[in-house]
């Protein structure tokens, strides 16, 4: 039975030096549940060390957590890469971090990069220069993610910096892209976004939360059988009536799904 679910595929933790210290696993899970989200993805900059902790923190909650990363490519484009499990994202992390510049994170400049467990105990700090870009270009990053069965979503393409659209000048056709993320749905009305809307890639919108209050501020609806990575992938492809929407599905559609649920 297909139903509408609320997902946010772009959330940072305390591992991202730019994130608030409030972004511990439990806080993220509690806020996501209270906002009525069914599924979130953890996407720290060029790292995935806290993914397992958030999955652990969500164990007894009605929330699915996807293993992800927000990669900064050589072209300064930010790209969300999502995977089926922790093992895959950690293999992907090895590839991405091998391309980071040499050097140690300067906490006084960037802030700390904290690795923690599901109970928010500090396990250590990542010393790598996660705030910089990997030397792998977009095509290699996307190819590696695909090789690991991952989903590739260029992030906030309507932003003036750190966006694939800004870096490339236009969105490449027939690339290894599963969806495009926009920050403001209303930007779809402008001319270039009109072109993007017609490019054939599905559009998603996410919170890109760096502090707990942002969680729930933006999300995407997916029409799928359950909140899982596999169902998300199918919804992005439009398999078997599955689909996604950045706008609230028409009220009657929501009601119809409620009746369907009551019928079960």
């Amino acid at each position: 039975m297909l139903r509408w679910l609320k997902v946010d595929l772009h959330i940072h933790t305390v591992l991202s030096s730019c994130a608030e210290l409030s972004m511990g696993p439990k806080d993220i899970v509690h806020k996501a549940v209270s906002e009525g989200l069914d599924m979130i993805a953890i996407t720290d900059h060029n790292a995935a060390d806290n993914v397992a902790a958030v999955i652990g923190a969500a164990r007894n909650w009605p929330l699915t957590v996807i293993a992800g990363m927000e990669v900064s490519t050589k072209e300064e484009a930010h790209v969300l890469c999502l995977f089926e499990d922790v093992d895959r994202v950690m293999r992907f992390q090895e590839f991405i971090q091998a391309g980071l510049p040499e050097g140690v994170n300067d906490e006084s400049f960037f802030g700390p990069q904290i690795i923690c467990d599901e109970n928010e105990h500090v396990l250590g700090k990542c010393e790598k220069l996660l705030a910089f870009s990997t030397r792998h270009p977009f095509d290699s990053v996307a190819a590696k993610a695909r090789e690991l069965g991952g989903i590739v979503i260029p992030a906030h393409i309507d932003r003036k910096s750190c966006s694939l659209l800004k870096a490339f000048g236009f969105v490449p056709q027939n690339a290894a892209i599963d969806a495009l993320e926009i920050q403001e749905v209303k930007n779809l009305e402008t001319l270039q976004m009109e072109h993007i809307k017609n490019s054939g890639y599905p559009i998603v919108t996410d919170s890109d939360a760096h502090d707990v209050d942002r969680i729930g501020s933006r999300y995407t609806y997916i029409y799928a059988a359950e909140a899982s990575f596999v169902e998300l992938k199918a919804a992005l492809k439009g398999d078997g009536g599955r689909r996604i929407s950045v706008r609230e599905p028409a009220q009657e559609v929501l009601e119809a799904t409620l009746y369907e649920r009551n019928d079960e």
């Binding site: 300064e76 510049p101 050097g103 400049f109 705030a131 870009s133 030397r135």
Partner: protein
């Protein structure tokens, strides 16, 4: 040439780092690929770019460059500018396009650094 004189001659706007303008600059580098700048820009050199995000500041800071010139009227956002001022990172701005800035610097005897 002394950085202060370069700023005068090119009519650069000083956005931050007013306290460190009396150094001698011999080389410069122009690129918008930040990983390339990380690899190739030389300590004490100037950097010409169309990028305006926070990592521009980080690179000037880490590579101890004489400063970054944001070309073509690019402006950093408020957060980036606040960070530059906080860390006293020299950041300049020009309405001229990157090619024009590079050409004028070369005319002043500044050489490419890579």
């Amino acid at each position: 040439m002394i950085l202060r004189d370069i700023i005068d001659k090119l009519g650069l706007k000083i956005l931050s780092g007013e306290g460190s303008l009396d150094i001698e600059v011999k080389v410069a580098y122009a690129s918008d690929i930040l990983s390339d700048v990380m690899a190739c820009a030389v300590k004490g050199g100037l950097w010409i770019t169309n990028q305006n995000h926070q990592n521009v500041i980080a690179i000037v800071y880490f590579k101890t460059l004489a400063g970054a010139i944001l070309a073509g009227g690019m402006m950093p956002d408020d957060e980036t500018l606040a960070k530059a001022r906080d860390k006293n990172v020299p950041l300049f701005q020009s309405e001229l396009p990157a090619f024009e800035i590079s050409g004028r610097l070369y005319g002043l005897g500044i050489k490419g650094s890579a």
